[in-house]
Symmetry: C2
Subunit: 297 residues, 2 copies
Amino acid sequence: MIIRIAKNSGFCFGVKRAIKIALEAAEENHEINTLGPIIHNPQMVEKLEEKGIKSIDDIKLVRGKPVIIRSHGVEKSILEKLRQNGTEIINATCPYVSKTQQYAAKLSKDGYQVIIMGNQDHPEVIALKSYVEGEAIIVSDEKDLPDKKLSRVGIISQTTRNIKDLQNLVNVLLPRCSEMLVINTICNATMIRQNSTLKLAKESDVMIVIGGKNSSNTKMLAKISENFVETFHIETASELNADWFRNKTKIGITAGASTPDWIIVEVYNKILECKGNIADKVTRIEDIPGFKEENNG
Amino acid sequence: MIIRIAKNSGFCFGVKRAIKIALEAAEENHEINTLGPIIHNPQMVEKLEEKGIKSIDDIKLVRGKPVIIRSHGVEKSILEKLRQNGTEIINATCPYVSKTQQYAAKLSKDGYQVIIMGNQDHPEVIALKSYVEGEAIIVSDEKDLPDKKLSRVGIISQTTRNIKDLQNLVNVLLPRCSEMLVINTICNATMIRQNSTLKLAKESDVMIVIGGKNSSNTKMLAKISENFVETFHIETASELNADWFRNKTKIGITAGASTPDWIIVEVYNKILECKGNIADKVTRIEDIPGFKEENNG
């Protein structure tokens, strides 16, 4: 029996950075707010809350305290309101997300009909579209495209989507428009994690994908994995079921960009327990027992 | 037995316009030159020569006479030399080709690495690349792409290429670059003719594609057709072979954008002769016997 952890999985640059910013700010302030969960991992958000970093849903609840902007960014109008109220803003928006917001603004300013590939209910997309002058078209994939001719189209993507979906979208749009500017805003960490998951899924009997149920990039990893092998998306080790591993000898673990290493270690240990504590081999997360990484709160 | 002529075939707007310009110029001048054949149809070019419109290969042969710029356009430097020499220039470049030249210039000016999808030996492409500041990458399809990462890519196409090839090119390039501006410069007449040929090919036992052996758009029609049915690319009726039609009951005819109607009519009549002058039905080119269209020289 072998348990392998995807070579590239867990915290990405943007998440590490956001947590670092939040922890530093919490040290300086007795209590601090984030507008919505800072990252899409409920367990990590809970840990941060213990350190005085509290998620609020409404700027009315700010009450004079500094506000951290979540890694996914927030709507332009909310930022403006916070500024008008004199609220101290600590910006933990992922720099790749900020860059995508700038592209959204520039494309619409340059007269392109902006198309955002993403989930319309996801905070990153809600923030993103607020930077578009005029109406943005939001599509999850090519099947959501309006069935009409378009002239000059500018396409950007939620940073955690799949390149194949973007390729399909572009493919369908090309004959329908005269000019198409595509900015590949899918972040590199996303693409590397997806490739790593795909590789491991092909070599496994069963895959465990760890990450927030509300995490877009984690859901994408699960979607990629289940094309090849039986796949379970969990948030924590407590959800694991020994039946999943019966007669399985090649177990793969991957984790979304907002999943802390300690959760991965817990899941690894629980799987090992399910299999009678015998693994011939474990690959990576620095070969587990008691592995600790930075910025895990 | 049924002989059908593709609904959209033969002269396009740009070819009609070029011939009209040439004929009007020939009426005003005793003799007039075109730099290279004005369109890619040797039979039509020969007819025009009878009216004093002569194709020359070198601007040294201009000898003070006005020069017509062929429908495919010419290199920027040649135009400049003609101007310097004080030669009267009559521009019969297809307006869609001129527009593509402007895009080539603009994309490179805006810092894009220009990629031209086309045949590097085709006069349209040779002219097109002369408008690019710096080096253009010319590819016939996605298989010719250099295997390297690119940053900002601007893509245009020879006006007579196939949208599927452009889609494949874009698909392969997308993960390799950060920004991609695609201007669909495949002209509408080309796309309509290709669709019309595809439809007819699917409904025929054998297809005859008429047009210059040097005509890019005609070769593309033949390529599309032969995916579905036995296809013969000819320039004139004299190339037809009765064997091609033995046991065939659904015969399709299509013609490139530079093929005059009188050649289509000749081909139709010759096929009819091969089949013993019996056709249950003939569809379009205004139901033949003696059909005459304008601008056929």
